[in-house]
Amino acid sequence: MATRGGNRAHAVTAMNDNSQPSLRARASWAQRLIILIPYLWLAAFFLVPFLIVLKISLSQTAVAQPPYTPVFDPSAGWAALKGFLAELSLVNYLSLAGDALYLSAYVKSLQVAAGSTLILLIIGYALAYGMARAPRRLQPLLVTLVVLPFWTSFLIRVYAWINILQREGLLNQALLALRLVDELPVWLATDTAVYIGIVYSYLPFMVLPIYAALEQLDETLLEAAADLGCPPWKAFWLVTLPLSLPGVLAGALLCFIPIVGEFVIPDLLGGSDMVMIGQTLWTEFFTNRDWPIASAVAVVMLIILVAPIVTYQHFEARQLEAGR
């Protein structure tokens, strides 16, 4: 079973050197092809689009098709290119900076992301820890059970919460039946609902990296700690927790970064006072048809997230290559 961050790479053959210089010399044309094909695809459909986003964030709206100006025309010659560059401006960024609405959306997104990541850490660590301590034979089953909801549609699962959280929904019915409330509280269209939805959807992303790190923990280390005088809770704090930090970091980044740009959950479960930056982008693009502003929103979001993204890549890439 494999998911975003929960890949369990066993640390068996850390000795193996999987890169062979002799192989490189002999089959170089085949190698170049193997590198080139995915490289070109990614460059074309991943890198170039981002450059385009950058470019459009520097353009203005126009009532035309496409709805922005200037339009880059590669065949128009050098002079046209100069004119094109002259028309680019930072006007969109200035309006972003000046408008409190955008700023509050960014802040709200970061708030929600941080808050839900924290909740996810607590619940996720408890669940992962329980899984790691379960009998060995049960563990693959537990992993499958945790991953299975992930395989079902994300949209479905968020929608399932609407079922539960709506005014006549099951949560309220249960609360009424247990006589915990007198009148039906409102859950939907609140911040709480958004948090519940986010924690619910992202839980596997937090659990699996932490579980992978805990599962690799050498049990004799805990025996050694006990032998040297540590009661179990202290051994957890001094040995287990520090050694599981790589998994915790991976899980936290894997959740925080996408949550910042989350759109579906706040849109379906949140209220009018809940506006996250993903929703802003969507609205600007689809409703207001203001592509340049939407692009500017995206670029700023990227800039905010650059540090965590680079951290994650550096971290995960190194981990995978080290065979852990």
């Binding site: 025996e223 050694a224 006990a226 032998d227 040297l228 005088g229 001094l238």
Partner: protein, 388 residues
């Protein structure tokens, strides 16, 4: 140079005069009372009873799966006995958890904390005791000096060699000055040369610190070199507890005889018992030993003779007392080890025997070669009669 000195001082000093087990008034430091540990249906340790005395270097020896590691872990507190008791200085350890026992363990794979430095690892146990920072630092420095790791305090385990990691594990266990140090196959991961030098360092350390060491090993050489006494275990049971010399020369069974060293086992029937003589009728003829042991007249016995006590020669030896047993055969194989040669001889009567002879001369061409007809002889006292 210093190894030789250590060897001499240990052989001449503590080991020779040290025998608290022979003293009826001495009280054991560790006592296992009818300890049984079951995992499911199988008993990993079966009614083991054992006394270990203070300042002893004690070895638990046996093949894989014999229960020696389980016995060690019962003492450390990582396993609870199904039946029986473990007593330390007279107190029943009972359900005392491992972090409250005055016993420390050096783990087989060292179990060094990868996220702590060498200093952090060694200081770990002291921190749990709540000692002052200054004292912790001093004791850590002292211990690292003792195991010759000064200067490496800030390194992490993955930056150390195998031998260095082993010393850190040792230092970490010793720094708390436990009553008993347990060592689980401590030399298994080292190469041969390092193993030999580390052995002597361990003995020296134990003698100097005056602690009780209990070591688990499957290597008979290790047990014989290091230990004052050895307990041989087989399938969860303790089959013999004695000094290395006693186990080697007076094994109680074929299993022990074969486990502790190479041995010739000749099957036969005990034909006659006279004072100072036991006669055995075997396929190799009528053989004699000095003592029938526990054997009854007419019962099936095995005559155990160590190869180094068997003399090999091209001519038939004369009837002197040193050649009370004399059989003929043909050399089928020779193992040349430089210092000794091992001769595999098929006796005329059928069974195989092994004789070991030291290569006393510097001749490259040896006098006895493949397919030579030879005579094997040994005195009456060289063999021991075994009943099981």
């Amino acid at each position: 140079m210093s190894n030789d000195k250590a060897r001499r001082s240990v052989l001449g000093g503590v080991k020779r005069d040290f025998a608290p087990w022979a003293d009826p008034t001495a009280r054991p430091l560790i006592r296992f009372e009818q300890i049984t540990k079951r995992f499911g249906e199988t008993a990993a340790v079966d009614r083991a009873t054992l006394d270990i005395y203070e300042r002893e270097f004690f070895a638990l020896l046996g093949p894989s799966g014999c229960g020696k590691t389980t016995l060690l872990r019962l003492l450390a507190g990582f396993e609870r006995p199904s039946e029986g008791r473990v007593l330390l200085a007279g107190d029943d350890l009972g359900l005392v958890p491992p972090y409250q026992r005055p016993v420390n363990m050096m783990f087989q794979a060292y179990a060094l904390f990868p996220h702590l430095t060498v200093e952090g690892n060694v200081a770990f146990g002291l921190k749990q005791d709540g000692l002052a920072r200054g004292e912790i630092k001093a004791r850590v420095a002292e211990m690292l000096g003792l195991v010759k790791l000064q200067g490496l305090e800030q390194r992490k385990p993955h930056q150390l060699s195998g031998g260095q990691r082993q010393r850190v594990a040792l230092a970490r266990a010793l720094v708390k000055r436990p009553k008993v140090l347990l060592l689980d196959e401590p030399l298994a991961a080292l190469d041969r040369k390092l193993r030999e030098s580390t052995r002597f360092e361990l003995m020296h350390l134990q003698d100097r610190l005056g602690l009780t060491f209990v070591i688990v090993t499957h290597d008979r050489e290790e047990a014989m070199t290091l230990a004052h006494r050895i307990a041989v275990m087989d399938h969860g049971r303790i089959v013999q507890v004695a000094t290395p010399a006693e186990i080697y020369e007076q094994p109680r069974s074929r299993f022990i005889a074969e486990f502790i060293g190479d041995v010739n086992l000749i099957e036969g029937g005990l034909a006659a018992i006279e004072p100072g003589l036991a006669a055995i009728e075997s396929a190799a003829g009528r053989l004699t030993a000095a003592d029938p042991g526990e054997a009854k007249l007419g019962s099936q016995v095995w005559l155990a003779v160590r190869p180094e006590k068997v003399r090999i020669s091209l001519e038939r030896p004369d009837g002197a007392a040193g050649a009370a047993n004399c059989v003929a055969g043909q050399v089928t194989d020779i193992g040349y080890l430089g210092d000794v040669s091992i001769y595999h001889v098929r006796l005329r009567a059928g069974p195989m025997m092994t004789a070991t002879a030291a290569n006393l001369t510097r001749m490259v061409e040896r006098p006895i070669g493949w397919h030579d007809q030879v005579w094997l002889s040994w005195p009456r006292e060289a063999g021991i009669v075994l009943t099981r």
